[in-house]
Amino acid sequence: MPDDQSRQFPADQFPADTAFSSVERRLVAYLVALWRLRVPIRHAKPDAAGNPPRRVSLSDGLIWMPGTFRGVDGHRSGALFRAALVHAGAHLRFTGPRFPAAGLKPLQLALVSLIEDARVEQLAMREHPGLLRVWRPFHVAEPDGAGTAPALMARLARALIDPDYRDDDAWVAKGRRLFFAAESDWHSPALSRRIGGLLGNDLGQMRVQFNSKDHVVEPAYRDDNIGLWDHGEAPPSPPSDAETVFEAFRTEQEERDRGRPDDQVGEGATPARLSATDVPARAVGEEEITAPPVRYPEWDYRVGIDRPDWVVLNERRSEPGDPAAIARIVERHQATADRLTALVRSAKVSRPVRLRRQPEGDRMDLDACIDAMVSHRRGEAPDPRVHEVLVRRNRDLSVLLLLDVSASTGDPVAGGGRSVLSVEREAATLFAQALDGLGDPFAIHAFRSNGRQDVSYYRIKAFRQPYDDAARGRLAGLKAGLSTRLGTALRHAGRLLERQATHRRLLLVVTDGEPSDIDVADRRYLLDDARRAVLGLAARGIDCFVIGLDPQGRDYLTRMFGARNVMVIDRADKLPEVLPTFYLRLST
């Protein structure tokens, strides 16, 4: 149908050699636009014999999409992915519960499936008549084809969708007549069962060959229809439900770890994966130290003094993870990321400020002119500052995000399998994304401690470094472990932040619990030390804010940071959205 195809928009052209991943986003948006269907799509894996899947499969609310279609050239394969996805969407929209397969012969199964395909397509075309142009080009069966079962079925499939197709075969004509005579019943799935059953009987009596093992649904965009059937207790054809669930799980993991099977910390890391068996080959104490140890005082409230040089802090470098994991986080939170981009854009540019009563400028300040004339007439010396200028308000602010990566961040967040650390990582990712767009100097650091002789401090992204794959890798490689000696980390972060030559300096802390360490039994000791550190930072012009992930944490956080500087989130999984917007609100 060259005419039909040329009516599509130029933007519709897909590049040659289209793999599904390259068009996935636009096709997913297409399904949303048509039916508001947001279906998880998985990349189908080769079967047990190693053959790549030839057709789309629907099961358990997932769409399994082959990575490529064999034997389809590049330009067509983009259109084929589109046709396949819309067909799957039509099933999800219009196919009801599964048909019981019991008592049906393979040929009947195939024909009921075929009628069902045609039925959902017709229903879809009632809403979106232009879909005909999406599907019809793939129906290439001709009336003079061989009289085998697959050929007849392909002809029937074409006859049921293509109004211009002529076929004199009695069986095809009968199928077409039955189907279109029942037009008013198209909304009922029982129709497919009835007509498919009849046609299956007829075809069986014609004694044409049908080999259910080799049967492949035609045309190529249609799914394998396995998801249509309920085979009861003993499903004869793979994948069975259990296998599918397993597959889904495995696929998720493989997606996460794409290309790095040994990467232990994917973004969806579960606590089990962060357990003791998963700590890096090098123990924490053996991670590479990147700077000479620094000694810091610590406040002892019992005696009311700063114990000099009491704590030793080592800057370390953790094993880098997979930067692609960070890219996937952004994908997963695309909606939030988009919203942030919009916020960032307005925070960045739309802040023009009118400066009035300037000695020079690009236009007159009307009120100042009038005042000047009034003074003039009164005989006073007028104020010469009668201009105004419009300047963009420069953002002059640097921010350091300090993440708590102590052992407790390995715990799962309430109501979800993800760990606190993975939530922190997601939040840091979106935060970095926003800040990178905004152009404010920013750093992301993390800390944990193992007694006063060993506080570890990680610079994931330092102020001077770009936010690049190396930084993303370090972010992806964060692991949970050890304790939370907050005060020392605050002092060190403050020292680094202090060197920033910006007007305002902001220290944002994300923590999930109160400070603790193995060598401190007194709860109040580290709390008061952290409070002391915050006061010290405030005295040096550094503003500290804390986001607490412990819903019960308001009291101790307030004690350390002051009531105005505390934000407690009752659901930790909201952090990725909250953190960047919180920053934007603070900074504008």
Binding site: F9, A29, H128, V134, L584
Partner: protein, 266 residues
């Protein structure tokens, strides 16, 4: 009379959707400050024009912007050969002469600007002109109306709580498909079938809201597309230039939306 230029001589077309005309009339009878909420292009401005016509009041519209100052609203001294003269701003004019003052997209104005409306919107109904040392008592026919689009409400731009709570609100949305098609047909001159088709296309873009689009296609955009189609432009092209291209720069979303447009057109 001072505001004759602001009178609306002919009835602006407005298709009531859900009793908002009666609600507004009741609010006007009480001279209650009103807030019209809703996404862009759903008919807020047309509604207020229609109501001003219906109530026979002049309508003073101010498009708010970030650089707007209180004196842009209230007025300022200007010079003439004899000395300074006071010049009423649009708000003061409306207050003195009994118009409906419509502050369009009020969140665009800075929050310190919008507080000048506070004394007008409570029981006092006065407007203090401090530079002139005058207290203007609002004309009995004066009413203040603001529009407010919660869609792009952000942490950066929002109304102060103290401003918000002075208003009663009418919420606008895109009308249901039948009514919207009727509006599109009336305003653009396309026939009912094309209008219905345009509304179906709009539905697919509204499905994409939050999945790549900030906001779906508005009724106003549909009317634009319809007007082009009424002049003989092919419908698919009209949709492309009036709907698809303006609404997003994201190539993937644009592709999805164009494909949905194709799918809707037989």
């Amino acid at each position: 009379m001072a505001l004759d230029a602001h009178r609306i001589p002919e009835e602006p077309y407005y298709r009531p959707v859900a009793g908002e005309v009666a609600l507004f009339e009741a609010a006007y009878a009480a001279r209650m400050p009103m807030m019209l909420k809703g996404p862009t292009g759903c008919g807020k401005t047309r509604f207020i024009e229609h109501m001003a016509w219906r109530l026979g009041r002049p309508l003073v519209t101010v498009a708010c912007h970030e650089d707007m100052t209180a004196s842009d609203l209230v007025g300022r001294f200007l010079l003439d050969p004899g000395g300074t003269v006071w010049h009423d701003g649009p708000l003061t004019q409306a207050v003195r002469h009994g118009a409906i003052c419509y502050l369009d997209e009020i969140v665009e104005a800075r929050q310190d600007t919008t507080v000048v409306i506070h004394p007008l919107t409570d029981a006092r109904r006065i407007l203090p002109l401090e530079k002139r040392n005058e207290l203007v008592q609002a004309h009995p026919d004066f009413q203040l109306v603001i529009s407010y689009n919660p869609g792009y409400q952000s942490v950066l731009k929002d109304l102060k709580e103290s401003t918000k709570q002075r208003f009663a609100a009418i919420e606008f949305g895109y009308p249901n498909a039948t009514v919207e098609a009727e509006i599109v047909a009336h305003e653009s001159g396309v026939d009912a079938n094309v209008a219905a088709l345009l509304v179906r296309i709009a539905a697919s873009s509204r499905n994409l809201k939050g999945h790549g689009l900030q906001e779906g296609v508005s009724t106003r955009m549909l009317i634009h597309a319809g007007r082009l189609a009424a002049q003989g432009i092919a419908l698919e092209t009209a949709c492309r230039i009036a709907l698809v291209l303006p609404i997003t720069d994201d190539a993937d979303v644009r592709d999805a939306f164009s494909a949905a447009v194709s799918a809707a057109i037989a």
